[in-house]
Amino acid sequence: MAAAEVGFEQFVREHASRLLQAAVLLTGNRDRGEELLQDTLTHLYPRWGMVTAADSPIAYVRRTLMNRYVSSSRSPRHRDTLTWDVPERWDRHDLSEEVALRRDIWQALGRLPGRPRAAVILRFFDDQTDEEIAAVLGCRAASVRSIISRAMASMRNDDSMHDTHNKAGSW
């Protein structure tokens, strides 16, 4: 087995969980997340030398994953078919105010367009800095701050969130 092949397998075994989590958050459900990650790795495998030559291979792969997601989210097919499934396990606890709030946040996140959603996930899940997010999204750090600020405002003003939690007096 070639060294590059070993390196690829080792990388996937080491980082697949974290990358899959990001992909699931981006796409909104497990199956689409697996498809996105598979698509990304299949795309990168023939170019694996470039990945390993990068300063941070995981950052390179994450950037590719995000870019492929943002690109695909612009397609009409994506807009027509994207569903944002609420995880089943939340159904069992939906009497809890906290869980209801998180469910609404999750659904509000699902209504964000691809790029702002990617920015929110990079910031709040991957704990990336403005500069790191800017490198992934291909924009300036100032733009990242603006994108995230608008995305968070949009989520807070989302209809479902507004109705539920304003009426409950917690807003």
Partner: protein, 222 residues
């Protein structure tokens, strides 16, 4: 709720959802195999474990069972007893033999009366018996049983499994060796047994690599 608390809730929400999305060994293996197969082989892993499949699959299985029972009841048992031994497809199909090797070009684990090749070497599909289709899980289980191996799974190409009109084709991969193989199954007297349609085609076009549409491959691409 102030913006800081909202940001905290967003962070907690993302982590909670993500914690439910660990990549299992099975998923990791599929990712590696599909990357090796390359983009030309399709990028969608078929037959994923979708929760939404469960109800339709159970319903289909129930319909299939009812149909088989109804067919058995409707048929005249006396007529079966009068049928001379050896006529047509009257030989009892046997279950796939455990431990038999299966590959595109090797012998099949079970051989029953199946169509033979024409003198030109091109098999001529016979009219298959109408039968309810195998579920993908049942087809895979048959192949696994015949190979005496659980490391067998569907290939990642679109069309890794197809079933229609009494014929089924399984494109599978042995994960330890990464060998790609194709076998066909045929409904004979209500039992699914391995056919030799694919084997009769030889290895041309049906080995590792480009895979034609499975049901077309029953006719060896003709």
């Amino acid at each position: 709720m102030n913006p800081d608390r909202f940001a905290t809730e967003v962070r907690d929400t993302l982590r909670e959802v993500a914690s439910d999305s660990q990549a299992s060994t099975d998923v990791i293996d599929r990712l590696i195999i599909s990357a090796h197969a390359g983009p030309g082989h399709g990028h969608v892993v078929l037959l994923r474990r979708r929760r939404t499949w469960i109800a339709p699959m159970l319903a289909a299985a129930a319909v299939a069972v009812v149909a088989l029972v109804a067919t058995s009841i409707a048929s005249n048992p006396a007529a079966h007893r009068r049928t001379p031994a050896g006529a047509g497809l009257s030989a009892s199909p046997t279950a796939p033999a455990s431990g038999s090797g299966l590959s595109t070009t090797s012998a099949k684990p079970t051989h029953v009366a199946v169509p033979v090749s024409t003198p030109t070497g091109t098999p001529t599909p016979t009219t298959p018996q109408p039968a309810a289709c195998l579920t993908p899980a049942a087809a895979l289980a048959l192949v696994q049983e015949a190979n005496n191996a659980t490391e067998i799974q569907f290939q990642t190409q679109p069309g890794a499994y197809a079933c229609q009109g009494g014929w089924a084709v399984v494109n599978y991969i042995t994960t330890s060796t990464r060998n790609h193989s194709t076998v066909d199954l045929q409904a004979v007297n209500g039992t699914w047994v391995f056919g030799d349609r694919i084997a009769a085609c030889g290895s041309s076009g049906y080995g590792s690599g480009a895979m034609p549409l499975p049901l077309q491959s029953l006719g060896c691409g003709n």
